[in-house]
Every structure is written in structure tokens, then in C-alpha cells.
Amino acid sequence: MAMLEVKNLGISFGGLRAVNGFHVTIEKNQLYGLIGPNGAGKTTVFNLLTGVYKPDAGSILLDGKDITGESDIEISKAGIARTFQNIRLFSKMSVLDNVKVGMHNHHEYSALAGIFHTPKYKKEEALMDEKAMELLKVFDLADMAETNAANLPYGKQRRLEIARALATDPKLLLLDEPAAGMNPKETGELMDMIRFVRDEFDMTILLIEHDMKLVSGICEKLTMLNFGEVLAEGTTSEVLNNPQVITAYLGE
């Protein structure tokens, strides 16, 4: 059973059909890339998959479960996590707390328990602290645990966003242009980190990316999107050598 099975997904904004007939099948533990020129609808696809937008056509199956039309909260609980094109951290909260918030739905206790520091509160907080610190260590952020997220340098902010996404214990991780703003050395490190995340966390990863070095470096399969529709799909080398794909990127 595929981890993600999307059929005929679509949405319109006003009179514009932003995404039409989008389909993709992603197997477990695959590193899958979504490419296409600016404005092709890639982030819109992400928004559809994560429940920010409700599709007006099509279906989404996550690990066999139908999540079409579910709210973003339900989809998060079902196991899809994402990062954003423009980093969205909780700027006034500490690095550690950013990760701990990610664990919100996996370690619960009531508000009253939180006020009166009941044994359940203490137990869950201790567990969250431990797990969050482990996650931070993995991403080399442990020494900045108490720093405000806003004060982190750009590269570390991106890593924190990924750490927070992983804190939700997802099955599928969506990364929206994770290499944006990175130099070649940082991109190389990012590639290693993405592979590491896939291996260590048993993760399936779908990423949007423009950086072709990263795409050809780690993606196993690609879907090319243009004007909201699938233009090509297949293995990375198939798609990147497809003449239509080349034309779409470079123009006639």
C-alpha cells in the first residue's frame, strides 16, 4: 500500500483553476520531488494535502486512510507534517518550546492538570522535554534550546522548522523549498540531513524544490507541475531529461 495516493485533485480560486487533475503515488520511505516553474501550483498542492484548502475534486489517501476534505488539524493528527516556503516559527518562544508545541497532540493533559502540576503533568512534561531534547540534538540545536526562535540564524531556523514538524510524529513530511536561501555547502548539508531524516525516522518525504542539484541529488522520483497540471512524472532522470520539462523551465 502506498503511503500517499492522490487522484484527480483540483481546486479553483475565483475563476482560475489553480490545480487540476493532480495525481501522485508515493511509496513508503520514498524521497519524492515536486518541481515546476513559479506559480505552477506546487504550494497549492501542499495546502490541499495538508487541509489548508479543501479540494473541490479528487481524493487523498494517506497510508490507506481517506483524508480528503479533512481539516488541517485532523490531517496533522493523521500524520502529515509540513514546513513552509517562508519559515513560520513561533518567534517569541524558545527553540525547545517550538518543538514541544509540535508534541501537543501526542502528550495530553488538561489545563487544570497544568495549573496544579499533577503527576500526569509532570510525567508528560518530562517525556516531552526528553524527546524534544533528543530531536534538537539530532538537528544540532540542543545548545540553543533556550534561545528565542527569532534569534536563530537562518539555516538553524530551517532546521528547527523541520524538527518541529517531526515532533508531530508524522508518516509523511512535506518540505516546501527547504533549500531556499542556502549556499552550495549548506545545500549539501541539507541533502545529508534529509536522507538522514528518511532513514532515522522511517519517514516518507515529499519536497518542493527549485534547486536542481538537490532534486537530482536526493529525489528518487519526480512529478513536474505546470499551470496546475501534471506535465510529467517518473524517475528523476526520466523527468529531468523529458524535453517538455526542459522547455517548460527554459521557455521556447
Binding site: 488539524i73 518562544m93 525547545l96 508545541v101 540564524p153
Partner: protein, 363 residues
């Protein structure tokens, strides 16, 4: 990972400590006979202003929404608690027990209003939310002024018109008399109770902030879209912050009301002017800074109400006389100057250059 938790605990302990030390100082001043009548009249107001500021900061600083109707919840708490007290005046004769129940009722009724108002209001954006909260505050104040409630052997009677429409027995007693409000309130508020309520308020708010729900609330403030993406139920937590804030404001209102012999809703005590004054305390103390919300109302009221008057009494100085007579004018100027000094980016730059205090950290 305990160092962060201990750090927070320490910071919070300092906040509690400030309250307790303040209380002790006041007791010492009083015991040694130095307590003037004007200062002693400020003690209970200190307490409810702090409760109101801390509870508003929960919404403005922790949840990140601008509420301009806080006085409305104070009003609800005041009237519901005093109504209970008056009804039970001869039934529960132990004033402390009765007052505690009245406080709880004031808090609960205000919290319920917080939920009722929050449900429609909290999905509005920023400034729209602000104006609607202001509108609700005014509506509450208005409604209370046309409320007539009386009690006789048949039970309670309600009217929105006048006392005659209550249709009571001749020996019936009017409890809520429209614009005249409620009279004959027993003075159940004391400074000690006020301080205890302040500590309880701080306990609830500080503990809530540092819990899982507090983190959820702050995540909504910092980035609502990201919060939703990690599965935070934004509506639930907005309502939680709003209703806890309202309930605590209700306690502040109850404390305020039981310090008076007559309670009526005027533009001055329950109108937008009061809501705005509390907001000023919150901003001056620091948005999101709970300790600041403890300090700001006390410092402002001490300085303005008390010291200016004291200074002016020490010697007949025409400047001080003028300042004392025109306290609100001074307050306004001081407010503008403080805001410009602390928040203007150019001023902040100038301060850093001159004082070298906040040297920019290396990225």
C-alpha cells in the same frame, strides 16, 4: 532538561515575592501608624487593577489579540457577585464565606460571558475584534443600567423598564435598581483578601502559560497558520484564553464592587475608558510581561495619585500644585513620553548608542 523549568520557576517566584513584599511593606506602614487615609484607600484598588491587568495581558500579550472590552467582564463579575451577596445577606451571615462564594460566582458568570462573546468574536481579525470587544463592553454596561431586579416572597422579578413593572408585593425589596444599581453593599473586600486574590490570579496565569495549553496559546499568537499545521485547535485555545481572562476580570470586578456601598455602571468605571486604562497598564508593564502587569498599575497609581499629592502637601510649590491639580494631564503627557521613549525605533537606536546597554548580539 530541567534548567529552563527551574529558571521559569525562579522568575515566577520573584513575581510572587514582589506581591508578598509589597503586602508586608504596606502592613508595616500601617502598623507603625504611617498609613495615610489616601494610601489606605488605594490598597484594594491596587489589587483589582493588578488582577485586571494580568488577566488582560493573558489575551493581549499571550494570545496576541487586542481586547478593548475588558471592563465589560469586570462589570459582569461585579454585578453578579454583589447580587448574590445582597440576596444572601440574611441567609449566609458569615461574611467571609458569603464573599468567597460571591467571588466564585462573579468569576464563573464572567467566564461564561467570555465564552459566549468569544465564540462569535474570536474569528474576527485584529482591529475588527478590537472594536467588537469594545462594543460588547458598552452593551453590557448599557444593559446593566436598564436592569431592574426585585425579590419578594414569591421569588425574583425582572424588568427592563422600571421598578413598578416588577410587580412585587409591597414588602418586596428592589435589589438592582436600573441606573441606580445596587445599594447597601456590605464592605466585604479587604486588603488581605485582595492580595490573596492577586496571588491566585498569578498562580493560574503563570502556571497556564508554562503548560501545554499555554504553549498552544502562544503558538497561535506567534504564527496561527503554523499552529494549525501542527494540529492546534485554534478556536478552542482562543476561547480558553479569553474565558480565563474574563473570569479573572470578574474576580477583579467582584473585589471592586464589594469595596463600595453603592454599585452602578457609569462610563467611568465600566465603560471603554476603564478598558483602555487597563490596556495602558498592560502596555506600559510590557505586552506579555506578567510581572510588568503587577508593577505597572501599582507604580502608576502610586506615583500619580499618591506621591504628587504628598509632594504638594510638603510645601506649597506652585509647580507641584499645578501638577497635582492636573494629574490626568500629567498622566497623559507622561504616557506619550514613555511610549515614544520605549517604542520609537529611532529612540531605541539613540538609547543604544548613548548607553551601550543593549549591544546587538552577534548573529
Amino acid at each position: 532538561m530541567n534548567t529552563m523549568r527551574t529558571k521559569t520557576a525562579k522568575q515566577n517566584a520573584i513575581t510572587y515575592g514582589i506581591v508578598i513584599i509589597g503586602f508586608l511593606i504596606m502592613q508595616i506602614i500601617s502598623a507603625t501608624g504611617h498609613m495615610s487615609s489616601s494610601l489606605s484607600g488605594l490598597l484594594i484598588p491596587f489589587c483589582y487593577y493588578v488582577i485586571l491587568a494580568v488577566s488582560l495581558n493573558l489575551v493581549v500579550g499571550i494570545l496576541g489579540e487586542l481586547s478593548l472590552g475588558h471592563a465589560g467582564f469586570m462589570c459582569v463579575g461585579a454585578f453578579s457577585s454583589v447580587f448574590f451577596t445582597k440576596c444572601m445577606e440574611n441567609v449566609i451571615t458569615n461574611s467571609l464565606v458569603r464573599f468567597i462564594i460571591a467571588l466564585i460566582i462573579g468569576a464563573l458568570v464572567a467566564a461564561v460571558f467570555g465564552i459566549l462573546i468569544g465564540i462569535p468574536v474570536l474569528r474576527l481579525k485584529g482591529d475588527y475584534l478590537a472594536i467588537v470587544t469594545l462594543a460588547f463592553g458598552e452593551i453590557i454596561k448599557n444593559l446593566v443600567n436598564v436592569l431592574f431586579i426585585g425579590k419578594d416572597s414569591h421569588g425574583l422579578h425582572f424588568s427592563m423598564k422600571d421598578t413598578l413593572s416588577l410587580g412585587m408585593e409591597p414588602d418586596g425589596q428592589v435589589i438592582v435598581n436600573g441606573p441606580q444599581g445596587i445599594t447597601g453593599i456590605p464592605k466585604d473586600s479587604t486588603f488581605v483578601i485582595g492580595v490573596v486574590l492577586v496571588l491566585i490570579t498569578l498562580f493560574i496565569v503563570l502556571r497556564l502559560i508554562n503548560s501545554r495549553d499555554g504553549r498552544a496559546i502562544q503558538s497561535i499568537r506567534d504564527n496561527r497558520i503554523a499552529a494549525e499545521s501542527i494540529g492546534i485547535n485554534v478556536t478552542k485555545y482562543k476561547l480558553m484564553a479569553f474565558s480565563v481572562s474574563a473570569g479573572l476580570a470578574g474576580i477583579g470586578g467582584a473585589l471592586y464592587a464589594h469595596n463600595l456601598s453603592t454599585l452602578s455602571a457609569t462610563p467611568k468605571n465600566f465603560g471603554y475608558n476603564m478598558s483602555i486604562m487597563i490596556l495602558v497598564y498592560v502596555v506600559l508593564g510590557g505586552i506579555g510581561n506578567i510581572r510588568g502587569s503587577v508593577i505597572a498599575p501599582i507604580v502608576l497609581n502610586l506615583v500619580l495619585d499618591y506621591f504628587l499629592r504628598k509632594l504638594q502637601m510638603l510645601g506649597s510649590n506652585p509647580v507641584l500644585q499645578f501638577l497635582s491639580d492636573n494629574r490626568m494631564l500629567v498622566y497623559a503627557i507622561v504616557l506619550i513620553v514613555i511610549m515614544l521613549f520605549s517604542w520609537s525605533p529611532k529612540m531605541i537606536e539613540w538609547r543604544e548608542r548613548v548607553f551601550h546597554k543593549n549591544a546587538k548580539e552577534e548573529a
